[in-house]
Symmetry: C2
Subunit: 477 residues, 2 copies
C-alpha cells in the first residue's frame, strides 16, 4: 500500500466506526482519489461500502475508477442499484467503459440502461468501437470552438465547458459539420486580443488519431509529438473525442507487460498476475511449454544418432548442457535486444541486414571468448585428473598417461570450436527471428528466450557431435 494511504487508514476506520461521517467526507475530499481508493479497499467490505456512501458523488466516481475490477464488482453489490448508477453516472466516460468491460454482461447492460440519456449515448458511442482501438479509450469531454467565434467567445466557452473537460490545455476548432480543422493551445487564446477571431490564430496544422486505429498507434504518436492529449476523428474526419496522456500511459504499460510475458515464453495474461486463477495461469503457460518440450525432443533424436560415440566416450555427453546452453543464452540476449528495439521503433524491418552484420561480429567475438574459457576448463580438468592419478598410483609420465593427456587437449579444442559455432548460431537465430516474425505480421515478442533456446539446442547438439566426430576420430572415438 502507498505510504500516504497506510498512514491515513486507521483514522478513516475510526471515523467510520464512530459514524463521524461529515468529518470523514471533508477529510477524504482533501485526499487524492487514488489514495482514498487504497484506504477504502483495505477495509472490510461493510466499512468500504459505508465509506463510499459518505463520499461526495463526484469524489465517489473518481475513487471508484481507481479500484480494481474485483473490488468494483463487490462494491456494486454492496451499494445496491441506485447508488451504483449515481456513481457510474458521475464517472468519466472512458473510465466508465473500462468498468463496464470488466463487469458481467448483464450487470453492465442494466447499468447502461439506467444512465441518463445523454451519458448513455456517450457510453454507447465508445462501446461501439472494438477492443484495442483508439475509440475505446477516448473521452468525449473536451472543448470545441468555432473558427468564426471571437477569442472572447472562445474563452467564455472554456469557462462553460471547462468544468467537465478532461484537459483544457488544448481547444479543438471544428467546422459546421463537426469536422476537426485545427487545434489551439489555451495559452495562445489567453494571450490573444479578445476581439480577434479564432480563425485569425489558426494554422490548420494538427496531429490527430483515427478512432479505429490500434491503441499502440496512440502510444507512439503521443511519445513522438510530446503531447498530453490528441484529438480522435472518425473515418469522415468528424471530431469524436480525445485521448489523454494518462490513459495512453496505461495502454503503454499493459503492452509492455504483454511483451515481457511473451518474452518469458508464455501467452500474455489478461489480468494482474495475482488475480488470475491458477488454472487460467496454467493454461496460459502450458501451451508454449508443451510446444517447446515437443520441439526439444528433437535433441534426444539428434543425440541418439550418436549413441555409439557416447558409449565409447561418455565424457562427450557430460558437456552437452554446457554447450547447448551457451547458444541459448547468447540467443536470449540477441532476441531481447532486437525485440525491444523493434517495439520502440529504433529498428525497422529494413535494418535486418545491418543487424545481421553486427550480430555476426558480436557472435564471433562472444563465441571465441567463451570457447577459450571452455578450452582452459577442459585442460585444467585433464591435468588435475592426471596429478590426482599420479598422487594415488605414484606413477610418473608413462606413454599411456601422455596419450590420455593429448586426448584432453583434443577434447578441449572440440569444446572450443563447438562453443564458437553454437554461440554464433544462437546470436544469428536470436537476432533474425524477430525480423522474420514481424515480416510475417506476427508479434516479434513471440520470439521468446525459451523459443530461441529450443531452436538453438537441436542444431547445437548436431554442431557439437559433428565437431567431435571430425576432431576426435581415431583418438577418443
Amino acid at each position: 500500500m502507498n505510504p500516504v494511504a497506510e498512514l491515513l487508514q486507521p483514522e478513516v476506520q475510526e471515523l467510520i466506526r464512530e459514524k463521524r461521517f461529515t468529518e470523514l467526507r471533508e477529510a477524504l475530499h482533501l485526499v487524492a482519489p487514488a489514495d482514498v481508493a487504497d484506504i477504502l479497499a483495505g477495509l472490510d467490505p461493510a466499512e468500504t461500502a459505508a465509506g463510499f456512501r459518505v463520499l461526495q458523488h463526484d469524489d465517489a466516481a473518481r475513487v471508484f475508477s481507481y479500484l480494481d475490477s474485483e473490488k468494483q464488482e463487490a462494491l456494486i453489490k454492496a451499494l445496491g442499484a441506485e447508488t451504483t448508477v449515481a456513481i457510474v453516472e458521475e464517472m468519466r466516460p472512458d473510465d466508465r467503459v473500462r468498468l463496464l468491460d470488466e463487469l458481467p454482461a448483464e450487470v453492465a447492460q442494466r447499468i447502461v440502461a439506467s444512465l441518463s440519456p445523454e451519458e448513455r449515448k456517450l457510453t454507447q458511442a465508445i462501446l461501439g468501437y472494438p477492443h484495442g482501438t483508439v475509440g475505446r479509450i477516448m473521452t468525449p469531454d473536451y472543448i470545441r470552438i468555432r473558427p468564426d467565434w471571437t477569442i472572447a467567445q472562445a474563452l467564455a466557452e472554456v469557462r462553460r465547458q471547462g468544468r467537465d473537460a478532461e484537459t483544457i490545455n488544448v481547444l479543438y476548432v471544428v467546422d459546421n459539420e463537426g469536422r476537426l480543422i485545427d487545434d489551439m493551445r489555451l495559452r495562445q487564446v489567453l494571450l490573444a486580443d479578445p476581439a480577434q477571431t479564432v480563425e485569425s490564430l489558426m494554422t490548420r496544422s494538427f496531429i490527430s488519431l483515427k478512432a479505429d486505429q490500434d491503441q499502440e498507434q496512440a502510444v507512439h504518436a503521443m511519445a513522438r509529438y510530446d503531447r498530453i492529449a490528441l484529438p480522435v476523428v472518425d473515418s469522415r474526419g468528424l471530431l469524436v473525442g480525445i485521448v489523454t496522456a494518462d490513459d495512453v500511459a496505461d495502454v503503454a504499460e499493459e503492452e509492455t507487460t504483454e511483451d515481457i510475458q511473451k518474452l518469458g515464453g508464455m501467452e500474455a495474461l489478461d489480468d494482474p498476475y495475482i488475480t488470475v486463477p491458477i488454472l487460467e495461469l496454467v493454461r496460459k503457460r502450458i501451451t508454449w511449454l508443451a510446444a517447446l518440450f515437443i520441439g526439444e525432443m528433437a535433441t534426444a533424436t539428434a543425440m541418439s544418432g550418436f549413441e555409439e560415440e557416447i558409449q565409447r566416450a561418455a565424457v562427450l555427453a557430460t558437456f552437452v548442457p554446457l554447450i547447448v546452453s551457451s547458444g541459448g543464452n547468447s540467443g536470449s540476449q540477441a532476441t531481447s535486444l532486437i525485440i525491444r528495439s523493434l517495439a520502440i521503433g529504433e529498428l525497422t524491418l529494413a535494418d535486418w541486414w545491418r543487424v545481421m552484420r553486427r550480430e555476426l561480429a558480436c557472435g564471433a567475438l562472444l563465441g571465441a571468448g567463451l570457447g577459450c574459457i571452455g578450452i582452459v576448463r577442459v585442460n585444467v580438468w585433464g591435468w588435475m585428473g592426471w596429478f590426482k592419478k599420479k598422487a594415488e598410483t605414484g606413477a610418473g609420465f608413462t606413454p599411456e598417461s601422455l596419450l590420455a593427456q593429448s586426448h584432453f587437449e583434443l577434447l578441449g579444442i572440440t569444446i572450443g570450436v563447438a562453443v564458437l559455432g553454437v554461440v554464433l548460431w544462437g546470436t544469428v537465430i536470436g537476432s533474425m527471428l524477430p525480423f522474420v516474425l514481424k515480416r510475417l505480421h506476427l508479434d516479434p515478442a513471440t520470439s521468446s528466450a525459451p523459443f530461441v533456446a529450443t531452436l538453438v539446442d537441436v542444431v547445437g547438439v548436431l554442431i557439437y557431435f559433428w565437431t567431435a566426430v571430425v576432431i576426435l576420430r581415431g583418438t577418443l572415438l
Copy 2:
C-alpha cells in the same frame, strides 16, 4: 521514417536547393517539430545545416531537441558557435540539460558559459542534481502564484508567464519563502470570481516529488495519480520545478528497455542498440555470458559423476537437454511474470509466500502435464523400435524383446518423474529469485531467463540422474 516526414522530405529538399528560404521557413513552421527533425536528419549534412539556419529561433530549438545525440553534435559543428548558442538559449531547460549531458564535456562547458546569465543559472541548477534523480528531468518553466493574490491577479500572471510555461493546466501556490503550499487547476481559477483571493480556493492538499528522489518514483506517482505534471520541491520544501508527463514517459520507456535487456541476460545498454559500437555491445554481453558459462560448467561436473551409468545406458544421456530445458523454460516464465509484477507494483515483497503457494501449484500441474508427454514419447519410441526390429528380423515376441520393452516403460517413468521434479524446481526458483534479489536491494530484473535456466540446469541434471539410479537400478543400469 514517419509517413508525414517521408511525404514532405522531397519538397523540403527542393526548397533548400532552390534557396527559397522564406517559403521554407513558413512551411516548416506548420509541421510538427518531431517531423521537421526527421525530415532534416534525412538530408545530407550541408542541407541539414542550411535548413536549420532558416528556421525561426524557437522552432529551431524545438526541432533540435528531437534529433538524436549524434546528429546534434554534427550539427553543432556545422552551425558554428554563435548559432548553436542562440538555439540552445531557446531550448527548454530540461531538453537543454539532456543535450549537454550527451555532448563532450568541453563543448558542453563552452555552451553553458555562453548562455545568458538567467538561462545559465537555470541550467546549472538542474545539472546540480545527480543523474537519475527527479531534479535532473524537471523544468523551471511553470506558473507560481501567491495565496494573497486575487483570482484576477492570478489570471494576469498566467497571461504573463504563460508564453514560457510548459503547462498552464496547473498553477502552483507558494508562500513568501517560496515553499509550495498548494496546487490549483487552471479550470478552478478560470471558473472562480475574479475578486476572490487565491487563498479562498486553497485545499492545501497536493502531491509533490522531491528533487533528489529516483526518477522511477516520478513514473509511479504520475501513473498512480493520473497527473500530467507534478511539482518538485527541494529538501526544505521550496518549489524548484515541475516534471511533465512527456519527460516521465521517456524515463518509463528507458527503464523498461533496461529491464528487458537485463531479462535477456545482459547489462543494460546506455544508448540505442544500433548506435552502440560493436566492442561496447560485446562488453555488455560477455560478462553475463561468461559468468553463466562458468556456472553451467557445474553440469559437466555433475554429469561426470554419472559417467559409468552413461556408459552402461547411453540412452539416458540423450534425454538430458530435453529434461533440463523444461526446467529452464518454466523458470523463464515464472521469473518474467514476477519481475514485471514487481516492477509495476502489482506485487510487493510481502506477497512472496502467496506467490510461492501459487507457483507450487502451477509447477506441479505444468510438470505433471509435460511429464505425461515425456512418458508417451518414450513408450511410442520404444514400441516403434520394437516393430522396426521385428520387421527387419522377422522375430516375434521373445523373452528378450519383452524385457527390452519393459525397460522402455521404466525409462518412460524415469523421464516423467524427472520432468515433474525439474519443472517444479524451475518454477520455484524462477518465481522466488526476484523476491530474494529485491530483498537484498538488488534489481529483480537481474534474475534473467538465462540466469534462472543455469541455476535450474545444474540441479536438473542431478534430479534426473538420481531418479534414473533409483528407478532403473537392476534393469538398464
